[in-house]
Each structure stands twice: as structure tokens, then as C-alpha cells.
Symmetry: C2
Subunit: 320 residues, 2 copies
């Protein structure tokens, strides 16, 4: 499949790591379809946390120690914002801020998020295509026992502390898949669709909630492979495990397989969870899924692509 294309569905940090590995393997043959439902307006600025994590990670600009935002970041804006009485619960680095200001300005001028993301990706030297799943507003709302919280309020301001009763994607019903996403999924030389190890409930579901997206995935007629975000009964990062508990879902590989049932053809499961895969109703590939450096990102990406190639073959079900 040296000249064929791959589409990866991706949320934030964990997903972006695999997308980074896939970019190394596939270069411009990779299309990354990004969750836009944790976007929000803050301080009058349009902020796209998952999109920017993907842009910074694939552009090699992300901070490796902190785990989010840009490397070589400074925080003088935040300090001065506190001084003038501004809201400081959401940390915006001085460098990071440039992307929010410029995106807000260009959107106000009528430009699409897709166009802006593409320009920025090119300027960051990103070879993959970075595609917002939609240019319309979808907003993840977290329903807790006492209130409804916009996702970043829940995730950052409240540090995921409130109990999650339900997750809702406001605006999803009327959001339109972009022509670019439709084209990527309809490409003749598409060979594989990858669901990155992002939070299925918070990062992948909002992508899947865009009308027509699930149908387009199926109509693509290529293997769909998900990488499980669960490792030894835990999520590597973020609130996946806690949310699964609160939604009454077992934090198991089986639960992830069940969540994607009917959508995926293969599931990549961490080697440490080999005991969990017995009886799963999907082809499984075991691989180390913890990505701690570029080498482990590339290794996982190669295994995911090779797994997808095997699933394309007539005897694909043999791995199950």
C-alpha cells in the first residue's frame, strides 16, 4: 500500500501521538480527521484544543514534558491577564495565543476552520492533511448531577471532578461533514481507516455524531481499525477510565470493542491485555500501545498499518 491513503480519526493528546507516528510512516498519504466538539469561545477567542494539539504534535512543536501546548512556551500573557482581572482558569501560553487570535480573526472574516487549519499545517511543515470533521459548531456538553458543563469547563476548570451522567454533542444534528472529509473518505486509493486511541466517548463519538460520517466510513469499503485507549484496565491519560466508571461501563478492552461494534473490523489491544481479548467479536492485534517517544509512535503506527493490510486480505479473519 505504498501509494494508498489512510484516514485517521483523532482527538487530543493520545490520538495525536499515533497520528504523529502515522505521519512518519505515511507522510502526505495521511488524512487526520479531527474532533472539533471541544472547541469553545474563551476571552472572545475561538479555541480548538484537539485541533491545535494535532497541529502542534504533527508539527513537532508540542511540549513533551507538560504533555500539552507548545514547547518553549511562556506565560506572561496569563500573568498580565490576572493583573487586569481576566479569567485565568484556562491557561493560554504566549505562543499558543497567536493561533487563537489569528484563527478568530480569520473566522470573523468568513474563512472556514478547514482552510485555516490547512494553512497553519503547511506553515508548521506538516505533511499530513489535517481536516476538521466539520466547520460548523458542535459542542460537547457534560451533564452532571447538578448542572450541564461545556467540555472545557468540565475538563479544565473543574478538573473532571463532577460525576458524568451523560455526554451530549450540541449542534451535531445540523453539523455538516466538510467536502474535504467526504473526499478523503471517498478517495479511490483509500486503504485504511484508523480510529486513534483517543477517548471514545469524548473525542471519537463527537466525530461519529456528524451526520453522514458513519455511513461514509462504511461506504469507504476499507478496513476500519481502532486502537484501544485502555491499557491494563486504565486509560493512559485523561478522564477515560473515570468517565467509563461513571457511565456504568467496565474499563475493559471488551467495552471498547462493544462501543465500536458494527463500525470497526479490527482492534489493536495492548500486549499487556492479551488475556482480555478472548471471545472478542472483532479481529485483534496485540501491540505495545504506550507511546513514550517518537520510536514507539512509529512502531505502533507501523503495526496498525500492517494490521490493516492483513485485514484487507481474503483471510483477514484469521487473526481473530
Amino acid at each position: 500500500m505504498s501509494s494508498s491513503r489512510v484516514v485517521a480519526l483523532c482527538g487530543g493528546v493520545g490520538g495525536a501521538k499515533l497520528a504523529h507516528g502515522l505521519q512518519h510512516v505515511l507522510g502526505k498519504r495521511l488524512n487526520v480527521v479531527v474532533n472539533m466538539a471541544d472547541d469553545f469561545t474563551h476571552l472572545g477567542l475561538h479555541i480548538s484544543p484537539d485541533l491545535d494539539t494535532v497541529l502542534y504534535t504533527l508539527g513537532g512543536l508540542n511540549d513533551l514534558q507538560r504533555g500539552w501546548g507548545r514547547a518553549d512556551e511562556s506565560w506572561n500573557f496569563m500573568e498580565a491577564l490576572a493583573q487586569v482581572g481576566g479569567e485565568t482558569w484556562f491557561a493560554l501560553g504566549d505562543r499558543d495565543l497567536a493561533l487563537h487570535v489569528e484563527r478568530t480573526r480569520r473566522r470573523a472574516g468568513g474563512e472556514r476552520l478547514t482552510t485555516i487549519a490547512d494553512d497553519v499545517a503547511r506553515r508548521f511543515g506538516i505533511s499530513a492533511k489535517i481536516l476538521p470533521v466539520t466547520d460548523d459548531d458542535i459542542r460537547t456538553m457534560v451533564v452532571t448531577p447538578s448542572e450541564e458543563l461545556a467540555f472545557q469547563r468540565y475538563f479544565v476548570e473543574r478538573r473532571c471532578e463532577p460525576v458524568v451522567k451523560q455526554i451530549r454533542f450540541d449542534g451535531a444534528a445540523s453539523a455538516r461533514m466538510t467536502p474535504e472529509v467526504r473526499a478523503a473518505l471517498g478517495a479511490d486509493d483509500l486503504q485504511l481507516i484508523v480510529i486513534c486511541p483517543s477517548n471514545p466517548y469524548l473525542s471519537i463519538d463527537p466525530i461519529l455524531s456528524v451526520p453522514g460520517l458513519r455511513d461514509a466510513l462504511r461506504a469507504a469499503g476499507v478496513p476500519i481499525v481502532a486502537v484501544s485507549p485502555i491499557l491494563g484496565g486504565q486509560a493512559v491519560k485523561g478522564p477515560t477510565r473515570k468517565i467509563m466508571d461513571e457511565l456504568g461501563i467496565q474499563p475493559t478492552t471488551a467495552a471498547i470493542a462493544a462501543h465500536y461494534h458494527g463500525l470497526i473490523d479490527g482492534l489493536v489491544v495492548d500486549s499487556a491485555d492479551a488475556a482480555e481479548v478472548t471471545g472478542l467479536d472483532v479481529a485483534v492485534h496485540l501491540a505495545p500501545t504506550l507511546m513514550t517517544d517518537m520510536a514507539s509512535k512509529i512502531e505502533l503506527a507501523e503495526q496498525v498499518v500492517a494490521f490493516g493490510e492483513r485485514l484487507s486480505m481474503p483471510d483477514a479473519q484469521s487473526e481473530k
Copy 2:
């Protein structure tokens, strides 16, 4: 006049220096009415250059070496903005940016520039009242032989290079003096009005262009003292001299006195220009007007206040 009030009309850097000195002398008895006509919208942000210069200077936050903006500033936002293809002709420091973002956000929420400036002044520990002359939009337009330029485009982007044929204040006719400015000029205990050594054509005229402002100044019934921005036939800073040349005005103390004729009762002229004051049709006080440090700001402020006191006395004209 230990408990009486002073109103100072002020533009940017030069005027803010005197206002800073006046604040030292008068504390909360000082009201600074600030030019808002070099405000502009840039990158979607409402930027108020003169107002912010006054806030930073009187708050002791201004950069003394650079001469504008905040001390201890960093420029990572600008670097990152260039990286994403944003407009970089107007330098916005990381700390400075906080004020623009917060003001833009609050204005979008319906708050007045006056309220926002007052809050920021309080947070910066400023004892004087900082009063935008209007909450409405006035915009200085510089007419050159080939085009019309918004002031910051002329001043910053074009570095004052185009020849100035005319200066216009768009929006002035419908701008409303704020109730706070009206109250400051109508206060029973007002003792003196000072016109700071800002550019008369670019910084003071737009203040005076607000309907009712000139009448309110005269109706106040207190001495009006201007400090000449000309020193030895030159402006201390900025394009005053060049603009006077291009508008066909001699760069002399006499031209400044003529410009303010009918408005002011006294003119403070630099001691170096003593030879120029003969025959001026206004009371003159000679003093060192170059403010290079806090001591020289205070010294000039004290002289201006004392000059105003003498002008209030029955034999005021004796200095002429």
C-alpha cells in the same frame, strides 16, 4: 489648592510623562482625559494606544528604555503570530496583549471603555482618575497625497513617512463626551486644566473635537495651561515637527500659542526657548520641559500647578 482638582488633557508618551508627574503631586485630585482617536481594531482586538500608555505610565509599568509598552515585556506571541502568517507590523507584547484581549472581551459584552479603564487603573494602583474623552469611536485619519491612512498605519506601519496633507477625526461629530469627563470639568473644586505636551494636531485636537468639550473647558472658569511640546524648534519625540512642516506651520512656540489661541490662559515654554516668547499673546512660564526621569516629571508638574495658581490670582496677567 491642596484639596482642589486638576483636569489634564493627554495623548501618548510625552503627555503621559507630565500626567505621571501631576499624579505624584496631586494624587487622586488628578483627572486625566485621554485621547481615544488613535484607537484601532487590529487582529480583532480593540487597541487603545494612548490610553494604555497613560495606564502603564501612571501605573509605573511602562518600559523606560524602549519608551513605549510594558516593562519586562516578552515577544513570543509576535514570533508565533509570524509563524502562522499573521500581521506583524504592529508589535504587541505578551503582557500588553492581556489588556487588549480583556478590553475587547468586555466591550463585546457591552461595557464602556470608561468603566474598563477605571477598573484597570484601580488594579494598576493608579490614584488619578483615567477618563477616556468618549466611549464612542473617533478615528484619526491621516490624508497623504496618495491615500488616507488610519493613524496607526501611518504612525507605526509607515513610520510617519508619507507626507501629511490633512488630519481628520472620523466620528468626532457624533462622539459624546462621557458623563465622567463632563463631571470632572464641572466640578466645584476644579482649579486648573492642563494641556499636556502631547502632539497638538494628533493627540489634543481629537480630544477638543468632541462636541461640547471646548465649551466645557471654557465654562469651567479655571485657568487653562498648555505645556508646549516644542523645545528648541524640535518636538521631543514623535512626528510633531515633521507634521508641522508638512502642514505649513512653523515649528515654533509661537505656532503652538497660536494653535491654542482663545483656549488657553497660559503656556509653559522650555527655558531654552526664552527668546521665542516675546510678543506672545498669552501668559508664559519658562521651565525645563524635558522629562527624563521621575524627578523632572515632578518638577515640571509642580511648576505647571504653581503657574496655574498664579493665573487664578487677580494680577495673573503680570507674567505675560
